[in-house]
Symmetry: D2
Subunit: 91 residues, 4 copies
Amino acid sequence: MANNHHKEVLDRLRRIEGQVRGIQKMVEEERYCIEVLTVLRSVVAALGKVEELILRRHLETCVSGAMRSGSVKEQDEKIDEVMQILSQFRR
Amino acid sequence: MANNHHKEVLDRLRRIEGQVRGIQKMVEEERYCIEVLTVLRSVVAALGKVEELILRRHLETCVSGAMRSGSVKEQDEKIDEVMQILSQFRR
Amino acid sequence: MANNHHKEVLDRLRRIEGQVRGIQKMVEEERYCIEVLTVLRSVVAALGKVEELILRRHLETCVSGAMRSGSVKEQDEKIDEVMQILSQFRR
Amino acid sequence: MANNHHKEVLDRLRRIEGQVRGIQKMVEEERYCIEVLTVLRSVVAALGKVEELILRRHLETCVSGAMRSGSVKEQDEKIDEVMQILSQFRR
């Protein structure tokens, strides 16, 4: 399962890298701003999907591990980390 | 602690309710759009703060409780719920 | 048209005010966190809709007015204002 | 000025492309999820900056051009396009 997760994340990141290169080409070809902005938005959405995959796995492994067998201090640290990531999600 | 948490959430929600009423007054007085938009943004930020308070408490109580003593099924459900809330956070 | 716009914005703000009061009641009744978070998200979405209505009207009136008959300085100011609002939209 | 704008946008996109490749390496090296998520967030912020640069230029050129000398229909189209991009900004 870990391997499937890694593979999916890497596949998505490679596709995103290709999209970013595609946007560079659009800018060089002076394509209409609104078209470029639309593709930029789809790249941001694709990155958001990668973030969700990684965060879900983090909750399923590290966070639930700490909850089950970590000290109270470790549990608090995990929750703080998750909350920090979440508050960055709004930005 | 539960009482402090509740009190803080309720205080913030009452202040937000007052701000929403204040925006209605600004609209009635035909205040400049950009001013109204700025206050609207600060209300959205204040709601975001309330969401963070509630989510943090949810992680500290319900989610960590399920991780510690819930069945695998209950643990999965909690993680699914958190992930659903998080993906709504982007909207 | 200005009146319709005002009326729609005010109606929406009154409904949002009612929803914020409803959330206070949910918190007092100790409703499940995830339910409260879901309603909070719908209030944020409703505020987003109000922001869009006001911004659209601002573009249609003040901004397009400045573009048509304002000085270059006034035009630059309008664009700066819109860009500041937009960069706040991400937060 | 158009050239400076293009150069800045392209420089930023190339840096973003490099960051996306860097994240792939982090995933391959099994770096801690929270570190990966933090870098992903900084890429999203960098893309947001590119979006702002392009949108500002769009307002300064195409939109203000349509406001000054376009037909009412063209003006409405420009405003609709901007509003569509803005509502995507929330997602």
